[in-house]
C-alpha cells in the first residue's frame, strides 16, 4: 500500500493520514487524494489493530468469549458484553431476573454517556479546541469511578454474563450515580457555552459532510450517524430489548444530515440517557442479580442474532452453533465498520480540515472497525 505516495497523473497530491496521526484517534490509515486543499478521494486502509476476534471466539467457550468483546468498542464495553450475553441467553432460552435487567440498562446508559463525553472532547480537539477535552473528562471520570466500584474496572468492565450480571451493585452505586446526575446537570450549560454556541464551531460544522437519508441507509450507517440524517434506527425503540419498551425516552432525530446534526444528536442523546437513569435509579427491584445457569454452557444447534444500540450505532452479534461448548462461527456486525465506509462519500469535495470534523462526527473507534 505504500507505493501510493507521490502524485497522480492529474497532479493531485496523495497524502497518507495515519496510521499514526493525531486526528484518526487510533491506527486508522486514510489515503487521501487532494487537489490543493480539496479532497477528491478518501480510501481507508484498515487492519492495524485487527486481532481477529471472530476467529479467537471460535475457540472460546460461551462464558469466555464475552470478555474479548470488551476490547472491540472499548468505549461501550458494557453494551458489547450486553449484546453477547443477550445472544447467548437467546440460545439458552433463559429469562434473567428483573434486577439484572435494570442493572444492565443502567450500566448501558452510563456507558453511553461516558462514550459521548469522550467523543465530545475528542471532537472539539479535532477542531483545534483543547479545553473541552478536560471539561468532558471531569464528568467522564465520575462515571468511571462508579464503574470501578461496581465492576472493578474502568474501561473494559466485563460485568455482564449470560444469565445476568457478574456481581451485585456496590452499596454506594445509587448515591454516586445521583451525585453524577447532579454534577452533570450543573455543568451541562458549559457544553453549550464553550462549544455548541461558538460561532467558529458552528461555521465549521454546518453544511459540512452532508449525508442524505437514502445514502445513510444504503451505506448501512446506524446510530447517531444515521439519525443525524433523519433515519429512525434506534434499536432500543424499534426492536426493544430488556426493559427499554417500558421506559420513557425519545429517539433523538435531526434532519439536516450535516456534521452539526450528528453533533447535536449525541448532545441530546446524553440528555435522554440521563432521563432513563433518573427513571431507574430509585426503582431498582430487589432480588437476584443472576439466574442460575449451568457451569458449562451449551447452545442448541442453530443460529442466533441479537441487535443492540451501542453509543456508535447498531451492534449485531451473530452466533452459529453446532451444539457444542464453543461457537462454530461468530460474527460481530460493528457499527464503526459501516459508518467508516460512508466517509469517502461525504468527504469528497470538502476541505482537508473538514475531513477531520467528519471523522469526529462519525465517532470512529478503530478497534471496533478492525475487530
Amino acid at each position: 500500500m505504500f507505493e501510493e505516495v507521490g502524485t497522480t497523473i492529474d497532479g493531485d497530491m496523495i497524502i497518507n493520514v495515519g496510521p499514526q496521526h493525531p486526528a484518526t484517534h487510533g491506527v486508522l490509515h486514510l489515503v487521501i487524494t487532494l487537489n490543493g486543499e480539496t479532497i477528491k478521494k478518501v480510501e481507508p486502509h484498515l487492519g492495524f489493530i485487527h486481532r481477529s476476534i471472530e476467529k479467537m471466539c471460535e475457540s472460546l467457550s460461551y462464558r469466555q468469549f464475552i470478555y474479548v468483546t470488551s476490547r472491540m468498542d472499548y468505549l461501550s464495553a458494557h453494551i458489547n458484553n450486553h449484546a453477547c450475553a443477550l445472544c447467548v441467553e437467546k440460545g439458552l432460552q433463559v429469562e434473567i431476573p428483573p434486577r439484572a435487567q435494570v442493572i444492565r440498562v443502567l450500566m448501558d446508559e452510563l456507558t453511553r454517556i461516558a462514550s459521548h463525553e469522550l467523543w465530545w472532547g475528542a471532537m472539539a480537539m479535532d477542531l483545534g479546541a483543547f479545553t473541552p477535552f478536560f471539561h468532558a473528562f471531569r464528568e467522564r471520570e465520575s462515571i468511571n469511578d462508579i464503574m470501578e466500584e461496581t465492576c472493578g474496572a474502568r474501561l473494559t468492565m466485563n460485568y455482564m454474563v449470560p444469565g445476568g450480571v457478574m456481581q451485585d451493585l456496590h452499596p454506594n452505586f445509587q448515591k454516586r450515580t445521583k451525585e453524577f446526575l447532579q454534577l452533570y446537570k450543573r455543568k451541562i450549560h458549559e457544553y453549550d457555552e464553550l462549544v455548541t454556541g461558538n460561532i467558529i464551531f458552528q461555521n465549521r460544522m454546518k453544511n459540512v459532510g452532508y449525508l442524505s437519508a437514502e445514502d445513510a441507509v444504503s451505506y448501512g450507517c446506524s446510530g447517531p450517524a444515521a439519525r443525524g440524517s433523519g433515519v429512525s434506527c434506534d434499536i432500543r425503540k424499534i426492536y426493544p430489548y430488556e426493559i427499554y419498551d417500558k421506559l420513557e425516552f425519545d429517539e433523538v432525530l435531526e434532519t439536516a444530515g450535516d456534521s452539526f446534526a450528528r453533533y447535536m444528536i449525541r448532545i441530546r442523546e446524553m440528555q435522554q440517557s440521563i432521563r432513563i437513569i433518573e427513571q431507574l435509579i430509585d426503582n431498582i427491584p430487589e432480588g437476584d442479580f443472576q439466574t442460575k445457569t449451568k457451569a458449562v454452557l451449551k447452545l442448541p444447534k442453530g443460529e442466533f442474532y441479537t441487535r443492540v444500540e451501542t453509543a456508535r450505532g447498531e451492534l449485531g452479534v451473530y452466533i452459529v452453533s453446532e451444539g457444542g461448548t464453543t461457537p462454530y462461527r461468530i460474527k460481530f456486525r460493528s457499527p464503526g465498520f459501516s459508518n467508516l465506509s460512508v466517509l469517502d462519500h461525504i468527504a469528497r469535495g470538502s476541505k482537508l480540515g473538514d475531513l477531520v470534523a467528519m471523522m469526529g462526527t462519525l465517532d470512529l473507534v478503530i478497534p471496533d472497525i478492525d475487530r
Binding site: I15, G128, K351
Partner: protein
C-alpha cells in the same frame, strides 16, 4: 529615581569617558546584542511557563508543578532537554534551507526588538519610520515558514507552509491598516512620538469607537500573523500533525517555538505601544494630580503590564476557540476585516483632520 534610562545613561557616560567614541559604539552594540539575546531567552522561558499555567487554569488542572517552586523551572528543564536532543534532518530534505529556516525565524524576531520602547527613554533604536519598519520586517517571518515547509520534503509541511503564506500575506493588510489609524492620528511613524502623543490619554480612549475597532482588528490580525489559534492553520495539529515544523526536532524545533513566543510578545508590545500608550502611565487629560500619582509607577511596569495583558488575551483565544477552516480564514480577512478597516481608516482620517478626538 531608579529607571532603565538612568542606568543606560550612566553606562554611556562611563564608557564615553573611558574609551574613544568608536570603541564606545562597538561596546554598546555588543551589549545591546547580548541584552536582546538575553531578553529573548528570558521571554521564551517566561512565556512558555505562562502559557502552560494559563492553559492549565482554563482547563481545570494544575499545569507543571514538579520542577522548581510551583513548576516555575519547567521550561528551563524543557530547554535543557531540547538542547541535548538530536536535531534530525530528513533524507531528501534541502539541507541548506532546512537548517537555515529556524535561524531566519529567530533573526526576524530579533530585528523586531529594535524599535520597541521598553521604558521611558529606553529604546534600542528610535528610528523615524519605526512603525513601517515593524510591519515590513514582520512580513519576513513568512519566508522562514515557507522555507521550512518547502525544504522538509514532507507534504504536511508543504501544506502548512502554503496555508501560512496565504494567511500571513492576507492578514498583513488589515494589521497595517489598523496601525495606520494610529499613525494618522499621531502624524508620525516614530515610536517615541506615538507614545508622547498619548500623554493626555491612550489612543484607545481618545479615539472614540473607530480606535476601538482598529484595536480589535489589530488584535485579530496579529493573532493570525503569529499563527496562534484560532488561526493556527499552519501547524493545525489535528489536520497536519505539526504543519511546517513537522520534521524539526531538538534545538531547531525549539528555535521555531521560541520565535513564535517572541513574535507574540512583539506584536503585543506594538499593540500596547500604539493603542495603550506603551510605557506611558494611565493619564486622563488635564487631571494633573491624578496623572502625577500614576507617574509614580515605573514606566517599565506599565509597559510590561500592558504587554502581558495582551499576551494573556491572545492565550485566552487559543485555549477557548476551535480552529477556522482555510477558506473561512481568508473570507474573514478579505470579506470582513479588510473592508471594515479601510472604512475605519477613512473615518479616523476625517476625525484627525476635523480634530474630533480628545
Amino acid at each position: 529615581m531608579w529607571s532603565f534610562s538612568n542606568i543606560a545613561n550612566n553606562l554611556h557616560e562611563w564608557l564615553s569617558n573611558t574609551f574613544n567614541p568608536t570603541m564606545t559604539l562597538i561596546i554598546e552594540m555588543v551589549l545591546a546584542g547580548v541584552a536582546v539575546i538575553g531578553l529573548f531567552a528570558a521571554l521564551g522561558l517566561v512565556l512558555v511557563i505562562m502559557e502552560r499555567k494559563v492553559s492549565a487554569w482554563m482547563q481545570i488542572r494544575l499545569g507543571p508543578n514538579r520542577v522548581g517552586p510551583k513548576g516555575m523551572l519547567q521550561s528551563l528543564a524543557d530547554t535543557l532537554k531540547l538542547l541535548v536532543k538530536e536535531g534530525l534532518t530528513p533524507n531528501g530534505a534541502d539541507k541548506f534551507l532546512f537548517n537555515l529556516a529556524p535561524f531566519i525565524a529567530m533573526i526576524v524576531a530579533m530585528l523586531l526588538m529594535a524599535p520597541i520602547a521598553f521604558a521611558k527613554d529606553f529604546q534600542l533604536w528610535d528610528l523615524n519610520i519605526g512603525v513601517l519598519y515593524v510591519s515590513a520586517v514582520s512580513s519576513l517571518m513568512v519566508i522562514s515558514i515557507l522555507m521550512a515547509g518547502w525544504s522538509s520534503n514532507n507534504k504536511y509541511s508543504l501544506m502548512g507552509a502554503m496555508r501560512s503564506g496565504a494567511q500571513i500575506v492576507s492578514y498583513e493588510l488589515s494589521a497595517g491598516l489598523s496601525v495606520l489609524a494610529v499613525v494618522v492620528m499621531t502624524g508620525s511613524l516614530q515610536v517615541s512620538d506615538i507614545i508622547h502623543s498619548q500623554a493626555d490619554g491612550w489612543w484607545i480612549f481618545k479615539g472614540h469607537i473607530p480606535m476601538v475597532i482598529a484595536f480589535v482588528t489589530f488584535i485579530i490580525a496579529v493573532t493570525a500573523e503569529t499563527n496562534r489559534a484560532p488561526f493556527d492553520l499552519a501547524e493545525a495539529e489535528s489536520e497536519l500533525t505539526a504543519g511546517f515544523h513537522t520534521e524539526y526536532s531538538g534545538m531547531k524545533f525549539a528555535l521555531f517555538f521560541l520565535a513564535e513566543y517572541v513574535n507574540v510578545f512583539i506584536v503585543c508590545a506594538i499593540g500596547a505601544t500604539l493603542f495603550l500608550g506603551g510605557w506611558m502611565p494611565f493619564h486622563i487629560g488635564n487631571w494633573t494630580a491624578f496623572n502625577h500619582v500614576m507617574d509614580y509607577i515605573p514606566s517599565s511596569i506599565w509597559f510590561f503590564g500592558k504587554t502581558f495583558f495582551l499576551i494573556f488575551v491572545i492565550m485566552w483565544f487559543r485555549w477557548t476557540f476551535p480552529r477556522l477552516r482555510i477558506d473561512q480564514l481568508l473570507n474573514l480577512e478579505w470579506k470582513y476585516l479588510l473592508p471594515i478597516s479601510m472604512i475605519n481608516l477613512l473615518i479616523v482620517t476625517a476625525m484627525a483632520i476635523l480634530k474630533w478626538h480628545f
